[in-house]
Amino acid sequence: MATLTLTLAASSDDALVSDLAYDATGTTMQVGGTNSTSAANTGQGFRFTNVTIAAADTINSVILKLMKSATVFSTQNNRWVFANEDNSATFSSGSPPGSRAIVATIVPDSNNLNETDGTVYNFPRAGADQITLGTSLAAVKNRAGWASGNAVSLINNSKQDASFVGTSARKAWHTWDSATASSEPQLVIDYTAGATWSRPLPQYVPVLI
């Protein structure tokens, strides 16, 4: 499949609301389940611009790549899903990730792993889940208002997810604001190019005079 790798392009394009306040400027982000189910619009988000996928293309898999901050062996519970938006706007305290409407296909992705400081890891981990996350993105691409080049937001542990779990199982990952080189979150999309658009031939209808 053709492969499109997008890199987060602005500070406000990764953000979270946890038991702490809204944060878009921290150099690391706690990604995973938070221990506060009462916080409004809990969740983390990553917004990617210039998604040059046409409506006729087939999305085969999607991966989020994050760089670990600090070596930790513990559990991380994720529920990945794309925002159900034609052209996702960047995050703000008034419009945090967890407040966004989401598509139906959610990818649960839990692990208990030792992850090393400075190493980039794939989310979700399992290949089958990466294919399902592609289905989640396809739901955005199939919206009537979608156009190639629009922006998408990947949301984790959204408060809009009916089965949202508030168990604290999270780890720290580098954000756009990190000082570490090459540490910005990335989205990798494998897709198959759809049929090339072509103009239909004009139809001439014979008219009997």
Binding site: I63, F73, S74, N112, S183, T192
Partner: protein
């Protein structure tokens, strides 16, 4: 297209899920040549019953795959846009071995197009990121049963440096049309 040629199980922890203890990677079992399985259950299924750890302990293990390939990345250019897209586009052709490349240079058994966006901060790692992108793709292509030629020929590109403020075209030069051999390398899925 057997770019992945073997599976092994590596133990990375002891203890319990609630109190895990990391250990140095310890190869627990290497499967037979030519056997590539997707899941831990399949891999453990090939371990003799008397030697197989209980399923409750499988979280302590990970799977790795032996990969062998030669790849030639070929630059197409950068996406032309204003402001600059900072996206480099290249095709990659894969052969299983250097001998396969020598014998059949015009018919790679696998091909793909890569579009890779960089930023001012990440541009320093251009070559490393591109090579990692290629490696990752090959594992996904195997398990996703991707078609052998899945290039995207629609993408408009240019080699005009006006559209390349990050100097991606210059940075890619070290890779362009150069065979890169990745031989007998164990990779995680």
């Amino acid at each position: 297209m057997a770019f992945l040629t073997r599976t092994r199980i590596v133990q990375v922890a002891t203890g319990t899920p609630a109190a895990p203890v990391a250990i140095a990677d310890n190869t627990f079992r290497t499967g037979a040549a030519g056997v590539v399985v997707a899941t831990m259950a399949e891999a453990m299924g090939q371990v003799p019953a008397g030697q197989r750890p209980p399923q409750a302990d499988w979280w302590q293990y990970k799977l790795e795959y032996l990969v062998d390939y030669v790849v030639i990345p070929t630059l197409r250019g950068v996406k032309p846009s204003t402001p600059a897209s900072n996206t480099i586009v290249f095709d990659a052709a894969f052969w299983e071995t250097a001998a396969d490349l020598a014998a059949n240079p015009n018919n790679p058994p696998r091909r793909n197009t890569f579009s890779h966006h960089f930023t001012v901060k990440s541009v320093g790692g251009t070559v490393t990121a591109i090579r990692a992108s290629i490696d990752d793709y090959l594992v996904r292509a195997h398990f996703g049963n991707y078609p052998p030629d899945d290039r995207d020929l629609r993408i408009a590109t240019t080699t005009d440096p006006t559209f390349d403020p990050l100097g991606l075209l210059t940075r890619f030069a070290a890779l362009n049309n150069q065979p890169i051999a990745v031989v007998a390398k164990w990779r995680e899925a």
